[in-house]
């Protein structure tokens, strides 16, 4: 029998969930017992000790395992950098060893008189583990780099003849998504994902069972489940959480119990008999493929097979959930309506538009954080402006927002390229706004939505426009549902927008929308969404009409309102509605959100104090007072430059001096900086209303150097320099020297600030300075950071060493006064 003849008729995809499939057990501990040394990379044994690897595989096959994981768990381009073998070599050798083992074991069975057709199924799994690196923007590698690393493994495994891809012991949903996309786009093999949860059902990066299940089902993997971290008993406690939201086959590979340390040695206490009995419970409760992880041996698997082999899996039902998710939680469309925050959208907002043109990401993040604070459940993200590169900005916005905000996002764009790029980098199961009944729209949106598992907002309009009748809108809804189905998108992944037209142009507009809404929700059984505030377009006091219409829509079956969560009347209507329909237990949420506000201690940060002068407000660090005092001065007719030069800067100087004399401290310095910022906001607002722009002292580039991921120091310096009127170009953290050089050249920059925290990254600071000098740019470099000293700064060729945040301000001001910036 030749290797390629085996497994020709493999149908693991069809068998998953229909019969019990057995995975193998631990590999690492088996290799250690065969002499693998600490620090030795286990996968090198695929080449150095192939017989020992095969021995392990064969023991598991003889024990009755159907799926054998190749010894490829730790292979990736990051780990292979320092060893003599390539990813492809290790992966293909690993796969080959499983396939050879299968051939040999089958022959052994046959020689013992077994009939070939009675032999158990034997599959080769390409085993993929974590890269051991955290993804950007929090970590150091880009999503696309992670994808490339996984792609290399997948291509090698597929080429070597794997039957299934097992992505296992992973605990970062973002990394998992990169791995799954790599698997799907570079092979047709079935994909099984098993993740490592803690006892509370959380991934190490914060995700929960429901959020990753939503994401992975959306991405179309073939089976999901748990492995490692826990024993069968603890997994049993988590299983109901999975079965309640999961509509695909479940795979569970537990450890042999929880590890305990005996005499400094990690041991797993659950013996084969007990293990088998406990895993049997998992099968009875919904797992259809089982095996083992750390601490399990061929004896465990053998016992497991003998106990469970005649069992039938529990039938898998479609849970029919409409769900979206962020990296850490899922949001379900249910009877209790949701709030989708509408504020990240430039339409009609000149400040937002300016922020987009200026590439002011912080402005966007603030809008997001505020809406989260105000109670939004999902955030709409729209960054479309004709003059900007929308796909690029959309990707950046989504990546940035999801790094700091916990809410699921609704990607809002009509540009299919922006759509795809946003969905690709999104960490979870996204919502997509929108598709409509036009053939062209459906043809471009549905394939993308299907690929990334998005829940799609469907607008009830088509080539002939927005129908004026309820029936007309329903007909389009029906058409969209049918077309979606042909792309394999089920009804549960659609949310209908019956469309809101202002009542100022048609008296029945609200009624038509409400009736269409009611029928879509209750007759077609599809969840609904509306951009509520359109109803009052062209009317005065729009909030009043909006609030009433919102309540009416909720009563008629609105599942999610796209509204401004900062609007108190809207949110009050929302919380009241929930309490009135019995969706707010003991009215707790209503009481919390709409009851009397709790007392703030006086003088707390950000609190308002009556009638302080601008100087006082800034020195005390009171943002609101600073804002109001500035407004008052402006109203009195003071011009902005006088305010800045005579009041704002002197106040900042008082604080800065106090800081340098160690009479005031960092938090106070920064509170004053925030107050000064508020004052500038007021000035900018008034200036832009009169069509003027505020002047700046010149541009400064600031960055945390390559390799360094700590950027609070840099951000503090940036805040202070902004206060003193400098225009800061913040390149962020972990910045390549080349990028700094490029920015300096492009903007003709005269001063660069570099920050580094560790001795290991100061070398990159030196490298950056060297690169700037080599290219003869006429620019000074100031440096700062925990490990730096004056001597060090001199040694690496910096022009200035700033020992604290104020130092950089003094230096920049000196240069400005000398006319050198």
């Amino acid at each position: 029998m030749r290797i390629q003849d085996v497994n020709l008729d493999m149908k693991i995809r069809e068998k998953l969930g229909k019969e019990i499939i057995f995975f193998d057990g631990a590999m690492g501990t088996e290799l250690q017992s065969r002499g693998l040394q600490t620090g030795e990379i286990p996968e090198t044994w695929n080449i150095l000790q192939p017989e020992k690897i095969k021995q392990v595989h064969k023991e598991y096959l003889l024990a009755g395992a159907n799926v054998i994981s190749a010894n490829t768990f730790g292979v990736n381009s990051f780990k292979c950098r320092n060893i003599d073998y390539s990813v492809e070599q290790l992966v293909s050798a690993g796969i080959r060893l499983v396939k050879e083992s299968i051939v040999e074991v089958r022959e052994e069975f046959i020689s013992q008189g077994e009939k070939e057709e009675n032999l158990p199924d034997m599959y080769t799994a390409l085993d993929i583990g974590s890269l051991g690196k955290l993804l950007k923007p929090l970590g150091e590698i880009a999503f696309e780099d992670a994808y490339q690393a996984f792609k290399e493994i997948v291509i090698a495994g597929d080429k070597a003849g794997a039957d299934v891809i097992l992505i296992e012991t992973v605990s970062d949903s973002y990394e998992i998504k990169a791995a799954v996309l790599a698997a799907k786009e570079n092979s047709d093999l079935p994909i099984v994902v098993t993740m490592i949860f803690d006892e509370n059902g959380k991934l190490l990066t914060g995700g929960d069972v429901a959020s990753v299940t939503a994401m992975l089902e959306g991405l179309g993997v073939d089976a999901i489940g748990f492995n490692c971290g826990l024993g069968p008993e603890q997994m049993m406690k988590l299983l109901p959480e999975l079965t309640s939201c999961c509509s695909i086959p479940i795979v569970i590979n537990p450890n042999a119990g929880l590890p305990s340390v005996v005499n400094g040695k990690t041991v797993f206490n659950v013996e084969p008999e007990e293990f088998a009995q406990k895993v049997k419970l998992l099968v009875e409760n919904g797992a259809s493929a089982v095996g083992g992880c750390c601490g399990t041996t061929p004896a465990h698997i053998k016992e497991l097979v003998s106990v469970c082999k005649d069992m039938k899996p529990q039938p898998i039902t479609d849970k029919n959930l409409t769900v979206v998710s962020s990296y850490n939680h899922a949001v379900y469309f249910t009877r209790k309506p949701l709030i989708i925050g509408e504020r990240i959208n430039p339409t009609g907002k000149s400040k937002f538009k300016q922020a987009l043109r200026d590439h002011d990401m912080e402005y966007i993040y603030k809008e997001g954080l505020t809406q989260e604070e105000k109670g939004a459940h999902i955030l709409d993200v729209n960054v479309g402006l004709p003059e900007i590169d929308e796909p690029q900005l959309m990707e950046e916005a989504v990546t940035g927002i999801q790094a700091i905000i916990d809410l699921p996002l609704q990607i809002d764009t009509s540009d299919p390229i922006a759509m795809e790029r946003a969905l690709r980098c999104y960490n979870g199961k996204p919502m997509l706004n929108s598709v409509n009944g036009k053939k062209e729209s459906m043809e471009s949106v549905f394939p993308i939505a299907k690929k990334y598992g998005a829940v799609v907002v469907c607008l009830c309009l088509d080539e002939s426009g927005i129908p004026e009748t309820v029936e007309g809108r329903l007909a389009i809804a029906e058409k969209i549902v049918k077309t979606a189905e042909s792309y394999g998108i089920p009804k549960k992944n659609l949310v209908m927008d019956a469309l809101v037209m202002t009542i100022s142009t048609g008296k029945d507009n609200a009624l038509i929308t409400l009736e269409a809404l009611r029928r879509i929700r209750y007759e077609m059984g599809i969840h609904t969404v509306l951009g509520v505030s359109n109803i009052s377009f062209g009317l005065p006091e729009r909030g009043k009409v909006n609030t009433t219409f919102f309540t009416m829509a909720l009563q008629n079956g609105l599942s999610a309102g796209i509204v401004n969560p900062s609007s108190e009347p809207m949110m009050a209507a929302y919380y009241s509605f929930n309490a009135l329909i019995g969706e707010d237990d003991q009215c707790m949420e209503y009481i919390e959100k709409c009851g009397a506000p709790s007392e703030q201690p006086k003088n707390a940060a950000g609190g308002k104090s009556s009638e302080l002068t601008l100087e006082e407000a800034i020195i005390k660090g009171l943002t609101e007072s600073a804002y109001h005092a500035t407004m008052k001065l402006l109203e009195e007719g003071k011009d902005s430059l006088t305010i800045i030069n005579d009041k704002l800067i002197p106040a900042l100087d008082v604080v800065g001096k106090g800081f340098e004399e160690k009479k005031m401290f960092l938090p106070q310095l920064l509170m004053s900086a925030d107050a000064a910022k508020a004052s500038f906001e007021a000035i900018k607002k008034v200036l832009s209303e009169s069509g003027k722009k505020s002047e700046t002292k010149g541009k400064i580039v600031i960055a945390t150097v390559k390799g360094d991921i700590h950027d609070i120091g840099k951000n503090i310096v940036k805040t202070l320099l902004e206060n003193y009127g400098f225009d800061m170009i913040d390149l962020g953290k972990d910045v390549e020297p080349e990028k700094i050089l490029k920015t300096v050249q492009e903007h003709n920059i005269r001063l660069v600030g570099l920050s580094a925290l560790m001795t290991t990254t100061v070398v990159n600071m030196e490298e950056t300075i060297k690169l700037l000098r080599e290219n003869n740019v006429n620019c000074r470099v100031m440096v700062g950071g925990a490990v730096l000293t004056q001597e060090y700064a001199d040694m690496i060729g910096a022009d200035f060493y700033s020992k604290d945040a104020m130092g950089s301000v003094r230096y920049a001001n000196e240069l400005y006064e000398a006319g050198e910036i």
Partner: protein, 229 residues
């Protein structure tokens, strides 16, 4: 084993926080104290501290430290004069890894956008929480060891004295920090989540005073944060 222990607000040393914020022996004003308490509450609400440790037999010769145990094949060798000094007369060494988790970094990032003063306070509170958590874990280890008549030496981390940061790689391998704690190591040897600690803890039969490390044992006398004890 991966253990999570309840870190309580009362465990966190406020003086450490003041110190990290640059208050040399002074107490911040009411507003800043209030902000510190608010941030601490929020931080402790969101973080999920975890730790894991493993015990090794230990032999110190000159500036070479050899560790081994039954669970792992082979011997791990470290070279550091300072660590050797720290571990002299130790029969055993515990390798410890602990983290506040990714949530602390997320919170810090949010404040860096919304409120820089709070961000600086969060940074200091995070460091103090990490310290408090390590002390808590160490206390648990101390109790376990005391029953066998062993005492603890102060923690010693990669980067202290002449112990190379490269040591992180070895500790990460031994403890499987990535898989079991979600810790990652950048190419420049920084840990992420940033509020994380790895350390050697020497175990000795010789009775020790307090095992919590003091500034006076550190040779960086010019340190901004140094205080005399």
């Amino acid at each position: 084993m991966v253990v999570s222990m309840e870190l309580d607000i009362s465990h966190v040393n406020r003086r450490e926080i003041y110190r990290y914020l640059g208050y040399r022996g002074q107490i911040p004003d009411e507003t800043v104290c209030y902000m510190i308490e608010e941030v601490l509450k929020e931080l402790l609400r969101v973080v999920k501290p975890r730790n894991l440790y493993q015990s090794y037999e230990c032999k110190v010769q000159n500036s070479e430290i050899r560790l081994w145990n039954e669970a792992q094949e082979g011997t791990i060798v470290f070279k550091s004069k300072k660590l050797a000094d720290n571990l002299v007369q130790c029969e055993k060494v515990i390798l410890l890894a602990a983290t506040l988790g990714i949530e602390a970094d997320k919170l810090l990032q949010r404040y860096e956008i919304m409120n820089m003063a709070k961000a600086s306070v969060t940074q200091a509170c995070g460091a103090a929480c990490m310290e408090a958590y390590c002390n808590l874990v160490q206390e648990q280890i101390r109790e376990q060891q005391l029953t066998d008549g062993f005492y603890l030496r102060p923690r010693f981390s990669p980067g202290y004295g002449d112990l190379a940061l490269e040591t992180q790689k070895v500790i990460f391998d031994c403890l499987q920090c990535s898989k079991r704690l979600g810790l990652t190591l950048t190419d420049s040897l920084l840990m992420y989540p940033t509020k994380s600690v790895t350390a050697f803890i020497g175990i000795t039969k010789n009775k020790q005073g307090c095992h919590i490390a003091r500034c006076s044992s550190c040779e960086n006398t010019g340190c901004e944060f140094r205080y005399e004890d």
